[in-house]
Every structure is written in structure tokens, then in C-alpha cells.
């Protein structure tokens, strides 16, 4: 009998320990937990880490200034491992605690996989995803922190038509949900403006060798090249383009002419132009101050995901104060159609307006890389000023 007795006792103990950890942790009432379900490992780890740092910085400031409606905020970070399946599990874990809001995910695929869950639970989900279709899926509870590709791509297409005066274009994109989504959006916009896409080049996330892609671009008869890859790939691409002497205008988004890319590609980034939605290089005192604080705390320059993460807690703060209570549904209600201005909420950095689908409207910039710096050449007004 002895082995059996010890066996059951042991397995009972094991099961109870397992069960205890599965059950909900009790938490104190004077702090409000906001879960961040973001990409902290896997392909999206860089993106998620920037968001984590940005949102942590904002929450520190908010708490130091007395919190939201008198309550302190505590951020909880859940890793999606850049896998939509795990993102769903993470969102479920967060929803079981009935939070006032959920931050993340940032990868559009993971947002797609989770937005119906927060919609059903009526919890506002502040996302980092930029894919065009996210706001078109009928959720009333997602809110963007940056332009969707449905907003940014028309601006780029206009710039290609009016600024670059291009008739033929090559598109280089990264084959992930971000790149593919952007590529699909820009194709549609270019088509409606009569600009022909002559070459459509898919590249891989993590790709190191762009020799073949640049060879193809050199052979293609195009007026300009639109590059839509993540920062490191953009930098590697620019270095190869310079090496092979690709002398065509290189046009892109934040991921082509951000400071991160310039730091990596050095002089190969010189002369690159494009449209940026969120940038730490904008000539706005609040943005500059944020960039300083971020660098001082984390010892590197934030990218646009750092800004996205930073404004998320301030969106909740402004909306909760408008609603007058810390309640998920009321906060979402308040955010819809809301304009948050830096005069009342400095942490929002740039005035933003959210519509009923969660799309954001704010000013953006045309910029180019000059002398190793991103220089803003023109400020584009809000779509609906």
C-alpha cells in the first residue's frame, strides 16, 4: 500500500499547487491593474520592448502625479511570444480579471485574433497594430495609437504623385502581417492615382542579404522605390542599395527614416524620404521632452512603438477623467469621438481624435534624412481639422 499512498498524496499535492497558480491572484483595491498583452519574445520582441518601456514611463509619471481618479496604476505584462494563439490566451487571462482596459497587441495578426474577444467583453483595447482592416471588423472597443495603413498609405501615395512625381514604382515589402498589409493598401492607393507598380518584391523578416533584391531594382525601370520593411531590414537594404549604387528615390514610412534606421545604416540612409506618423524627431517640445526622458531612463532612443506605448496610459487617463469613473465600458464610450489635447493632457504629445471605429486622426509629417538626422520638411494637417 505504501507506494500508492505516497503516489496519491504526491499527485494530489501537485494538482493542488497547479490549481492554485491557475486560480486568480487576489489584488489590492487601491491599485488598478492594466494588462499589456504584447510581443516580448520572438520576432516582435523589439517592438514589444519599446512599447513596454514607453507605457512604463507614462505610468510612472501618472502615478507620481496622483494616478487616475485617485487610483494608482500597475501595468502587468503578458508575452504573446509574437504568436496570435498565445495572444488570445493572454487576452483571455486579462479579461478574466475584468480590467478597465487592455493594452496591445502590437502585431496586427494578434490584434485581429483578439479584437472580437474584447468587443464581446466590452473592454477598451488600445492597440499598436497598423493593418488597414483592424478598424473594419466591427469592433467598437479597439482604439489605435497610430495611423492605420488605410490612413497613412493615401498620404504616401499623394506624396509619390505630387512630391516625387513618380509614374512608375517598385514596392519592396516585408512578408509579415505589417508589410503585407501595407503593401496591399499602397497598391490600391497607387492604382487609383494612376501610378503603375512595375516591381513587387517580397522580402523576409530577418533577411540579411538584399543583394538579389537590389539587383532586381536596378534593372527595373522605375521612378521611385517604396520600401516598407521593419527597421533593421530597412537599414540592411539601404546599405546594400548604396553599395550597388541604386540611384532612385527611396521612399518609405517611419520604419525607413526613423533614427533607429539612421543609426544602423549611417550614411546609407542619406537622402531617404517619406511620410512619418509618429516620430521622436518631430519639432514639437513635448515630443522632444519625451525623447529625452526615454533616453535618460532606458539609455537608447525610442522608436514609434515607444511613443505608442507612452500615449496609451494617457488615453485611458483622459477618457476615464472625462467619464468620471474607472469603468471599462464608460472609458470606451468616452474615447469614441474624443479629442485629447496636449494642453489638458501633455502626455498625449500631439493632439489626437478618435472616431467611432477607433481610428486616430492627427497631424503627420513629411521628412527626409539629411546630415544623419531626420528632418521634417512639411507638416500635414489632420484629415478632419
Amino acid at each position: 500500500m505504501r507506494p500508492f499512498a505516497s503516489l496519491t498524496r504526491r499527485s494530489f499535492a501537485a494538482v493542488s499547487i497547479a490549481a492554485l497558480t491557475l486560480a486568480a491572484p487576489a489584488f489590492a483595491q487601491d491599485t488598478i491593474k492594466i494588462p499589456n498583452i504584447i510581443e516580448l519574445s520572438g520576432a516582435g520582441a523589439t517592438v514589444g520592448t519599446n512599447w513596454k518601456n514607453g507605457s512604463s514611463l507614462a505610468v510612472e509619471e501618472i502615478n507620481a502625479a496622483g494616478g487616475i481618479l485617485g487610483k494608482k496604476i500597475e501595468l502587468v505584462f503578458v508575452d504573446t511570444a509574437s504568436d496570435p494563439g498565445k495572444a488570445r490566451a493572454g487576452i483571455q487571462r486579462a479579461l478574466d480579471d475584468k480590467p478597465i482596459a487592455i493594452f496591445g497587441p502590437i502585431y496586427s495578426g494578434s490584434v485581429s485574433a483578439t479584437l472580437q474577444m474584447t468587443n464581446e467583453a466590452e473592454v477598451p483595447q488600445i492597440i499598436g497594430g497598423e493593418a488597414a482592416n483592424l478598424t473594419a471588423q466591427g469592433s467598437k472597443y479597439i482604439f489605435r495609437t497610430s495611423f492605420g495603413q488605410n490612413v497613412s498609405m493615401p498620404k504616401i501615395a499623394n506624396y509619390l504623385r505630387d512630391g516625387v512625381k513618380a509614374k512608375t514604382i517598385a514596392v519592396v515589402y516585408v512578408n509579415n502581417d505589417f508589410g503585407k498589409g501595407g503593401r496591399n493598401s499602397i497598391m490600391k492607393e497607387l492604382d487609383s492615382r494612376g501610378i503603375k507598380v512595375v516591381l513587387d518584391l517580397s522580402t523576409e523578416a530577418g533577411q540579411a542579404d538584399f543583394a538579389a533584391d537590389v539587383v532586381k531594382l536596378k534593372a527595373a525601370n522605375v521612378d521611385a522605390v517604396f520600401v516598407y520593411t521593419n527597421e533593421e531590414e530597412s537599414a540592411r537594404f539601404l546599405i546594400e542599395a548604396k553599395k550597388q549604387g541604386l540611384n532612385k528615390p527611396l521612399i518609405g514610412e517611419t520604419t525607413l527614416l526613423g533614427q533607429k534606421v539612421i543609426d544602423l545604416a549611417k550614411d546609407a540612409a542619406e537622402g531617404v524620404k517619406g511620410h512619418v506618423g509618429l516620430t521622436v524627431d518631430a519639432d514639437i517640445p513635448l515630443v522632444k521632452a519625451f525623447a529625452e526622458k526615454f533616453r535618460a531612463k532606458y539609455n537608447y532612443a525610442s522608436d514609434h512603438n515607444g511613443i505608442k506605448g507612452y500615449i496609451a496610459p494617457y488615453m485611458i487617463k483622459a477618457a476615464a477623467e472625462k467619464a468620471g469613473k474607472l469603468d471599462a465600458k464608460a472609458i470606451a464610450e468616452a474615447l469614441r469621438g474624443m479629442t485629447i489635447s496636449p494642453t489638458t493632457t501633455p502626455g498625449i504629445l500631439i493632439e489626437g481624435t478618435w472616431d467611432a471605429t477607433g481610428e486616430i486622426d492627427r497631424i503627420s509629417f513629411l521628412a527626409e534624412v539629411k546630415g544623419g538626422k531626420q528632418v521634417i520638411t512639411q507638416t500635414l494637417p489632420k484629415l478632419k481639422p
Binding site: 519599446n50 540579411a208 543583394a211 539587383v215 527597421e231 533593421e232 540592411r236 553599395k243 533607429k260
Partner: protein, 297 residues
């Protein structure tokens, strides 16, 4: 034709680095019959040693490189052998192979948590001056990378075949029992193997990081390419690894350049070296330059 040579030269430069990492696979395979799934991370890590050395100690870059190689030999050679391989190898190869998967996670996440999740610019030992050879643009750095990698492997080859210690290492790799009987200090020879692997990984790291940038996720694609190169070339031969590395590097670039000409999307470029791998396994299982496995199973 210019385009073709442009692609081949770029492929040779990348392939030379795959070869360095692939040599490591074959060395560890010979020493312990183990596949090291952390080999890619072994190449990712030393670049960070060099970065830490320059930023913390403020030493010139070439000294930082030497520090990186030394640190790599201590951590990825000595410590890896004594802390991970020795306690596990006595239980057979499988627990050790599984542990190397965990080691890969450990190194990757360690860099992410304690250094940075951001890609870091990494200085090059060589100038990026361009040379134009009949329209083909080649950088001095590219040529340098190729020759340094080849020189490192040639030196290893020479060491293995022409020195006493090298021959003892080879004897150990082929049959440790017989080697021991013949008075070869088998344990020390195995340790040397690990040290050499770590040093080669560090060299590969320093050579590739100016192109890849230093980033914690670099290990996965590098490890995979090196693994494929090792199998294609022949898992038990140093020169096989060279051939495998160069072939994989060149084929990958040519696939990217020409796949769409034959109606296949160039996003399938990764599949082409793998098709080669399968063909090699089916028709020449000992690898392009490998010899038949001599160890009795």
C-alpha cells in the same frame, strides 16, 4: 552576367560565415555526437562581448575583438563544456541535445533582458571601400570577410593534420576508445574541440555583425543556415563544412535572384537550399565532401 556575379560574390561572403559556424557543428558532432541547437546563438553572442568591451572598458575595437574571442572561449567553450556537456553527456545524446535548445533560449533571452532588444550597430574591422570589377560592385569588407573566414578554416585544417595535438584530436574524434588506449589525453582533446568551436564562433560573430547588426534574434537564421551547410557538406568533415557553407550562401542568393524567372515566387528562396539538403541526403548521405561515418553504431 554582371548581376549573376554580383549575386555569387555576395553569396560567397555570406557563405564563408555560414562555413565558420558549420565547422563548429561538425567539430562538436565529432567530439560528442551531439547536435548543438544553440550554435546560432554561439555566433550571435560574441558580438555583444565586443560591444560591452568597447562601451564599458573603452578599449579600441581590435582589443575588444580579442576580448570577445577570449570571453567566448571561456563561456561558450569552457563553461559550456563543464557545466552543460559533461554532466549531461553521460546520459546519452538526447538530454544534451534538448539542453542545447534550452541554452539557445537562455542566451537569446539573456541578451534581450540584460543588454537590449534593439539591433546594435557594429563596427567593421575592414573598410567598406568599393571596388568595381567590370560592373560588379565588391566591397573590401566583403572580400576581407571571405578571406578571413577561409584563412581561419585553413589554419584549423592545418592544425588538425600537421600538429601532434591536431592529430590526437582527430584520433579522438574518430575513435575515443582506441585513442585512449594509444595514450591520447582524450578529455583534453575534447576540451580543445569546444574551445576551437567557441573561438570560430566569435570570429564569425565579429565578421557578420557589421552586416547583420548585433541582435539577440540573429542566432536562429544563422544556426539554421549553418546546420543546413553542415549536412550538405558532410557532417563529419571540416572541408565539407566549407563547401556546404559556400554552396548554401551562393544558392540562397541565386534563388532570390532567379526563382521568379522560372515562375516560382522568390519568397520561396529559403526552400532551395533545403531541396539541395534533401537531395544530398537521398543520393549522397555522407555529404558533398564527407566520408562515410566510420564510427560503429
Amino acid at each position: 552576367m554582371t548581376d549573376f556575379f554580383q549575386l555569387v560574390i555576395a553569396g560567397l561572403a555570406t557563405g564563408a560565415i555560414y562555413a565558420l559556424a558549420a565547422v563548429g557543428f561538425t567539430l562538436l558532432w565529432q567530439a560528442s555526437q551531439t547536435i548543438n541547437f544553440a550554435q546560432g546563438e554561439f555566433v550571435m553572442l560574441p558580438a555583444f562581448f565586443a560591444l560591452i568591451a568597447t562601451s564599458v572598458l573603452g578599449v579600441p575595437f581590435w582589443i575588444a575583438v580579442l576580448i570577445a574571442i577570449t570571453a567566448s572561449m571561456l563561456l561558450l567553450g569552457l563553461t559550456f563544456k563543464f557545466a552543460i556537456v559533461d554532466p549531461l553527456i553521460k546520459h546519452g545524446p538526447m538530454p544534451l541535445v534538448i539542453s542545447t535548445i534550452a541554452v539557445a533560449i537562455l542566451l537569446k533571452d539573456g541578451i534581450k533582458e540584460f543588454y537590449s532588444a534593439e539591433a546594435q550597430p557594429f563596427p567593421s574591422l575592414l573598410p567598406s571601400t568599393l571596388i568595381d570589377v567590370f560592373g560588379v560592385k565588391v566591397s573590401v569588407a566583403q572580400i576581407g570577410v571571405f578571406f578571413i573566414a577561409m584563412a581561419a578554416i585553413a589554419a584549423l585544417q592545418h592544425f588538425l593534420s600537421s600538429t601532434r595535438t591536431g592529430r590526437q584530436m582527430q584520433a579522438t574524434a574518430q575513435n575515443p576508445t582506441v585513442a585512449r588506449i594509444l595514450g591520447v589525453p582524450v578529455e583534453r582533446m575534447i576540451l580543445y574541440t569546444f574551445l576551437i568551436n567557441a573561438a570560430l564562433a566569435a570570429v564569425a560573430s565579429v565578421l557578420i555583425s557589421p552586416v547583420y547588426f548585433a541582435k539577440f534574434t540573429n542566432g536562429e537564421p544563422l544556426g539554421l543556415a549553418a546546420f543546413v551547410a553542415a549536412i550538405v557538406g558532410g557532417f563529419n568533415q571540416v572541408r565539407g563544412a566549407i563547401a556546404g557553407g559556400l554552396v548554401v550562401g551562393v544558392i540562397d542568393n541565386l534563388a532570390a535572384g532567379y526563382l521568379d524567372r522560372i515562375g516560382v515566387a522568390s519568397s520561396y528562396r529559403q526552400a532551395v537550399p533545403l531541396i539541395l539538403l534533401v537531395l544530398v541526403i537521398l543520393f549522397r548521405p555522407q555529404g558533398l565532401l564527407g566520408r562515410k561515418e566510420e564510427r560503429a553504431v
